[in-house]
């Protein structure tokens, strides 16, 4: 070990001298100037206003016991209900406090366990919608009443009656057809099409909301267009309007909302949405009446979700009576009467139910996340309070919060890609999305996936963004099949991917070759006969080597579309057009020499072509690192991990079981190998690094055998990873590891390697372990950050430090998101 480190140091030292010598004598005299003028220092938590946020949620949690989770009454009585506002005094327990209804409450708990799965047919374009009947929102997560069951049944019936609600494959939507059905809708569409759309857009692309934009000129491939702001008369549901068009349910804590066509509801919080009538759209995904319920998550960490009514265009019907019939199940006569008045042929009616899942319970058990589903400080003034929706955990936002903003170029790009996916493309569409960090790649991808899921049941997704992963904990490269729409930020939809490699760092910079090889290997694992679209996410590192990696990826993978996101008028990097790629230098690949080019043009192989789409992001705060609470990217990573670990919570009980109380798995230390990815750890001290850490559960091809004692990998490799676990403890006497993991036991049996990476356990997992008075391992309250050198290395953005090259610490030109280092 010593020698290897020595080498590293010698190299580093010499490199530093070399560079400095080149720069001249004065360069280092002043510590390198930083171009960090634009670094915005976090202003910290503004708690002054914080108390206002919690009120609505407090009531929700208070009403929770009665409406959604009857069994919680027991908890309340047990005087342990710290989360509810109404704490019961301990004396009550001994006095004759009577709870008459206790048993009737528990008896009334019912769950819908009808999990109707859509089986088979993963191929190409199917009319998937009609199959997605309303039946389950991970039914195990929801406690539903008999009413819910009834509702489910009814809708299954209604679906059978109307099997073709959803658009068919490639259904041409002619204007005349529209005109016949809804003249007013036609007008809007026409004016909208006046702009520049040179593609035959699917109607739902046109439907994507842009009416918040105002008039702006947009550059699309050099063509300038301007839009009138009033072309879509959509409006935000806010303030008084919400009182009129929303009503609370008469039996359960739920609400029914009538929305007119193009009306939007932008909100914070979480709920389950069911479309009772008409059609609504969220993040590009449309929900028709009769379709199953979907959970929506709009936490303070991300852009708020916007629900938009589309109205149905299919046929005219007797709206009032039909609506009245639908509402009968949910509302009392009086409120029904009020609502029905608002219903027109183009309105949509949605049902909102409170959403409580093991995930939300788990997250709310941490003090710093208790306000996660409330509006952030910046939106407090815009929060509409005291509507019927607030009681179930939905806080509507006034229209000065614009919500998700989709630029014209973005909609065009979506249109092109969707059309290509539907069209006669040979094989499948392979869409690579790239752009500088915080430009909205993930959001674009979520909308793209959701829109695609309107047409197909599956979309493949190749994860190349190590810092902000979509379906896995950070630091992973993965290949997933997406079946459910993404109606919330990544931490709300952590799923097991088809294939995963634990890279172990939140940026690819330490090992570029490994990064490329991992992605290539993942690609090869994808069944090549599959004819469903693939979406590739990439890192936000678009300079230097990061850009070269992008070039490599486009060359290595059979990309058909490159969507390049940018912002403002400055160019973050050169456009990755096919022409550019002809001469671009990659990290592993090089442009062919001229002779080779000639040869190729003669041969039958055409040069690689793909469609290059430029998207201008225009949302507020584009390319800026979020600084508010919950919005920094290290907080996002923490949420991702908490989302993953929440899978350890058992489904059915509403109570949160802290990790340390769970029964772990055990495995002899001779049967699984230990490795560290991101640094070098002396084998004899290995347990000190790995105890109570997050480990990737990996499968080595080789058999792990021990000649005595634990098996230590001399060098960690990139290998298939099936999931993550917390190494809960090490029994040195018996030679056992104790591990907590949500990985299925049938998969766990194959795991023979535990890898430690630079992705550490969220600190709250360790610091907030209830039930301990004394010392907790690895936790101290005595560490002072005031002393010099007590913090981690601080790197200014844009500060280039040649002397650090070659050492594993990060350089300033770091890729991807790492706010923690840029401060």
């Amino acid at each position: 070990m010593a020698t290897l480190l020595t080498h590293k140091w010698l190299f580093a030292s010499m490199l530093g001298r070399f560079v400095d010598a080149q720069l001249g004598p004065n360069a280092g005299d002043v510590a390198e100037p930083d171009s960090a003028g634009d670094v915005s220092f976090s202003t910290g938590v503004r708690t002054a206003l914080g108390s206002n946020v919690g009120l609505a949620s407090a009531v929700t949690s208070l009403l929770g016991p009665f409406t959604t989770r009857p069994e919680r009454v027991v908890v309340v009585v047990g005087a342990t209900a710290t989360s509810t506002k109404l704490k019961l005094p301990a004396e009550l327990n001994s006095s004759a406090g009577t709870i008459r209804e206790f048993s009737s409450l528990t008896a009334s708990i019912m769950k819908v366990n009808k999990n109707i799965q859509v089986k088979g047919k993963p191929q190409k374009w199917k009319d998937v919608r009609s199959k997605r009947c309303r039946s389950s929102v991970k039914s195990s997560n929801l406690n539903s009443s008999p009413v819910m069951v009834k509702m489910v049944k009814e809708h299954q019936v209604s679906i059978k009656k109307k099997p073709s609600l959803k658009r068919l494959k490639n259904k041409p939507k002619t204007v005349s057809e529209k005109k016949k059905n809804s003249p007013c809708g036609f007008k809007k569409l026409e004016s909208q099409a006046n702009g520049c759309s040179k593609f035959a857009l699917d109607d739902e692309i046109e439907d994507l909301p842009d009416f918040m934009e105002g008039s702006e000129s947009v550059h699309i491939n050099g063509m300038e267009t301007s839009e009138e702001s009033e072309e879509v008369p959509g409006s935000r549901l806010e303030g008084e309007a919400l009182h009129h068009c929303a009503q609370r349910g008469n039996q359960q804590n739920r609400a029914v909302l009538v929305m007119q066509k193009n009306q939007t509801l932008c909100f914070r919080g979480k709920c389950i949405v069911t479309c009772l009538y008409g059609r609504v759209e969220v993040m590009g995904f449309t929900i028709d009446e009769g379709q199953k319920s979907y959970p929506l998550f709009s936490p303070a960490s991300h852009c708020p979700l916007t629900l938009r009514a589309l109205g149905h265009t299919d046929y005219v019907r007797d709206d009032r009576t039909e609506a009245s019939n639908i509402l009968e199940d949910y509302l009392s006569a009086a409120s029904r009467k009020k609502l029905v008045k608002k219903v027109t042929p183009t309105s949509s009616i949605i049902l909102l139910d409170p959403l409580e899942t093991p995930l939300t319970h788990f997250l709310s058990s941490f003090t710093h996340l208790s306000e996660l589903f409330s509006p952030p400080v910046s939106e407090l003034m815009s929060a509409v309070l005291d509507t019927p929706l607030n009681g179930l955990g939905v806080i509507p936002l006034a229209s000065n919060i614009e919500g998700l903003k989709i630029s014209r170029s973005c909609r065009d790009a979506l249109g092109t890609v969707i059309n290509a996916c539907k069209g006669d493309l040979d094989g499948c569409a392979v869409i690579l999305v790239c752009g500088v960090k915080n430009v909205g790649k993930s959001t674009f991808i979520r909308i793209l996936i959701n829109t695609l899921l309107n047409h197909t049941s599956n979309v493949d997704y190749l994860e190349g963004d190590l810092g902000q992963t979509e379906f896995t904990p950070p630091g992973c490269l993965s290949l997933s099949t997406v079946k459910e729409p993404l109606l919330g930020p990544p931490f709300t939809h952590q799923v097991t991917p088809d294939h995963m490699i634990y890279y172990g760092q939140s940026s690819c910079e330490p090992d570029l070759d490994g990064y490329l090889e991992s992605l290539k290997s993942l690609w090869r694992r994808r069944p090549q006969s599959r004819e469903i679209p693939v979406i590739i996410n990439t890192m936000g590192w678009v300079k230097g080597f990061g850009f070269q990696l992008l070039v490599d990826l486009i060359r290595f993978l059979p990309v058909t579309h490159v969507v390049q996101l940018s912002h403002g008028f400055s160019t973050q990097c050169s456009p990755l057009t096919p022409d550019f790629l002809r001469t671009a230098q990659g990290y592993q690949t090089h442009p062919p020499t001229q002779t080779a080019l000639d040869e190729f043009s003669e041969s039958h192989c055409p040069p690689k072509t793909y469609t290059h789409l430029n998207v201008q992001s225009e949302f507020q705060g584009v390319a800026r690192q979020g600084t508010a609470t919950h919005q920094r990217s290290n907080e996002h990573r923490e949420l991702l991990l908490l989302g993953y670990l929440s899978q350890l919570q058992s489904d059915d009980s509403g109570t949160v079981r802290p990790l340390h109380t769970l029964t772990p798995y055990q495995v002899p230390n001779t049967a699984v190998a230990l490795g560290v990815i991101h640094c070098e750890v002396a084998p004899s001290h290995m347990f000190y690094a790995i105890n109570a850490s997050l480990v990737g559960l990996c499968c080595l091809a080789e058999k792990v055998t021990s000649k005595g004692g634990p098996v230590i990998l001399s060098q960690a490799t990139l290998c298939p990873c099936v999931g993550f676990g917390v190494l809960r403890g090490i029994d040195t006497a018996r030679g056992l590891y104790f591990l907590l993991t949500p990985v299925d036991p049938s998969v766990l049996r194959k795991v023979n390697c535990l890898l430690l990476g630079a992705i550490s356990l969220p600190s709250c997992i360790l610091t907030e372990q209830p039930g301990f008075e004394g010392e907790i391992p690895y936790v101290t309250a005595d560490y002072s950050f005031d002393l010099t050198g007590a913090g981690k290395i601080r790197v200014f953005k844009g500060l280039i430090r040649p002397s650090l090259m070659g050492v594993i610490y990060r350089c300033a030109s770091r890729p991807a998101r790492s706010p923690d280092l840029q401060r």
């Binding site: 208070l62 090549q528 601080r794």
Partner: protein
């Protein structure tokens, strides 16, 4: 901004306990290379835990100690050592001063001076990077001095207590300090202003009271014009005040001696202070209500009423915990008075006109106001006291979007259980009335039965959980993995600790281990790295992936131009 919380924040660190920290510190600064090496290895494990958050001081110390150890081992030549020391010293000077660095670059010399780092160390650093390499002698001296500095400034002072700050919220140098100072000043100023405003408000209200008393007295005696004029002037002033700072006005109003009368005031107005307090349905005695009516009528506005309501509940919460009965009574009485005013229930339908007129006269406001019910509800529940069920009932009855009926009932019931007031008679559904009444004893009994049934195997007695575990164990059979079957109460062991583990910092050392070397297998590396790849044809390849077949490779090779 420092957190002024009395409780120190807890942080995650890389050492399991203080003992491990002490051990490493001791070993690092020992003269024995073997111990130093041990400490270095432990720091390597810490780096593994910390990922990229290792404290700079720990990193620098380890780097310098490494130089010392290698120096003493005599394995390296002098030139090697100079480079090693050099890198460590350069890193130390740069990293340790980094936090002092503001947005504008400042000379290292100045930054180091602030930290009490001798100037010649900075010169040494510059020698390393820009000039002739210093001699080994200087390197050793530099290393020694820096290690001493680190021990003094970091190691010996750490874990001895100190204000907790976060990893993330490190201060940003001078700018912040300046800002803090400025903020303190402005805070002081605004506080002074506040105090003045508070005083004037109080005075105004007191003179209002005086006027009222006088006019009440005057009602019996002679009635002059002057007091009335005074009154309207006063009201105007107060109105103005309310426009400026509604908040303050309400705060003062709710202090003792205003809306909540003192015993003397009650006597003056002819009320018995102990007459009504303690009733579950408090009403403000009429004389007092009349006393304040002119003021309240004048101030009446939706936002004002909302504010008063919210503050009432806030004060009620404080009063209820402090057990000040009179205050609790009057606060809840006013709350209920306002709610009743706002009520849209026509309970008075059958009254005669004159009665109605009289009633209307006593009302603070006439028209129904749209209050923020959700907030009021939670505020009300937040301040439990004897009259909470009554207030709750009023709020529930009056809400714009009423809660489901049974939710209302349950809330009320739970509320009355909590406040231990004689339960308001609820119209329970018949079947619920006939259900047995559960007491705590019956719950205990039930639990005991359950435990007996499950054979007292586990404390939780969670049968379902056991089933799940058994199922998991079955799936794992035949693999080295198994569900831990030890009878361990895991909840007594925090993460990172197992039964029987000692607190000795050496308990996790691995004495014997086997190393395993894996070739980079699973990510099937292609042998051809760094090849020249001309544009890969797109769609044609789509079906077969990216692996070039033999003919492709051959073609590529033709296109290669070696240099």
């Amino acid at each position: 901004m420092k957190k002024s919380s009395s409780e120190k924040r807890r942080h995650v660190v890389a050492w399991v306990n203080k003992a491990e920290w002490d051990q490493v510190l001791d070993h690092l600064y020992s003269k024995d290379p073997a111990l130093q090496r041990f400490a270095l290895q432990r720091v390597s494990a810490w780096r593994g835990r910390y990922a990229h958050n290792t404290p700079v001081a720990v990193d620098c110390t380890a780097d310098l100690v490494r130089g010392q150890v290698l120096d003493r081992s005599g394995q390296l030549s002098g030139d090697d050592l100079v480079l090693l020391y050099g890198a460590a010293l350069v890193r130390f000077v740069n990293l340790i001063t980094e936090r002092q660095q503001g947005r504008k670059a400042r000379p290292l010399r100045r930054l180091a001076g602030k930290l009490n780092i001798p100037e010649w160390l900075v010169d040494l650093r510059h020698d390393f990077t820009h000039k002739k390499l210093p001699t080994l002698k200087w390197c050793r001296k530099g290393c020694k001095v820096v290690l001493e500095w680190l021990q003094q400034e970091y190691w010996s002072r750490q874990l001895g207590g100190g204000a907790g700050e976060d990893w993330e919220s490190d201060s940003d140098g001078e700018e912040e300090e300046d800002g803090e100072l400025r903020q303190q000043e402005s805070n002081l100023l605004s506080r002074q202003k506040e105090m003045e405003a508070y005083k004037t408000t109080r005075e105004l209200l007191i003179s209002y009271e005086r006027e009222r008393y006088q006019s009440l007295d005057g009602a019996q005696g002679d009635r002059g014009m002057a007091p009335l004029a005074d009154m309207s002037w006063l009201l105007g002033e107060i109105k103005q005040l309310s426009l400026d700072s509604n908040d303050l006005l309400v705060d003062v109003l709710l202090e003792d001696g205003f809306l909540v009368p003192t015993a003397e005031q009650l006597e003056t107005l002819g009320c018995d202070p102990f007459e009504t307090s303690g009733s579950p349905e408090p009403r403000v005695p009429q004389p007092i209500q009349r006393f304040w009516l002119p003021l309240l009528k004048m101030l009446n506005s939706p936002s004002f009423i909302q504010l008063v309501m919210e503050k009432l509940f806030v004060e009620l919460k404080v009063a209820a915990t402090e057990q000040t009965d009179l205050r609790v009574f009057y606060l809840s009485a006013w709350a209920s008075e306002i709610l009743l005013c706002n009520s849209n229930k026509f309970v008075f339908r059958f009254e005669r006109k004159t009665q109605k007129k009289a009633r209307m006269k006593d009302r603070i406001f006439m028209n129904r106001i749209q209050l923020r019910w959700q907030q009021l509800l939670s505020a009300c529940l937040d301040a439990p006291c004897g009259s909470t069920p009554h207030l709750l009932q009023l709020i529930l009855d009056d809400m714009e979007h009423p809660l489901p009926q049974d939710t209302q009932q349950k809330l009320l019931q739970l509320c009355s259980i909590y406040t231990q007031t004689p339960a308001v008679e609820f119209s329970l559904p018949r079947e619920q009335k006939h259900q047995p009444i559960y007491t705590l004893e019956s719950l205990h009994e039930k639990r005991r039965q359950q435990l007996r049934r499950s054979g007292e195997t586990s404390e939780s007695g969670d049968l379902q959980q056991m089933d799940v575990q058994a199922e998991k164990a079955k799936v794992l059979r035949g693999s080295p993995w198994q569900v831990c079957s030890d009878k361990v109460l895991w909840k007594n062991f925090p993460l990172g600790k197992v039964p029987g583990q000692s607190d000795d910092p050496s308990s996790l050392m691995v004495e014997t281990y086997s190393t395993m070397t894996v070739c980079e297998q699973p990510v099937e590396m292609e042998s051809s790295r760094g090849q020249n790849a001309p544009g890969v044809p797109g769609p044609a390849r789509a079906t077969e992936g990216l692996i070039w077949n033999q003919s492709d490779v051959n073609r590529l090779k033709c296109g290669l131009k070696l240099f």
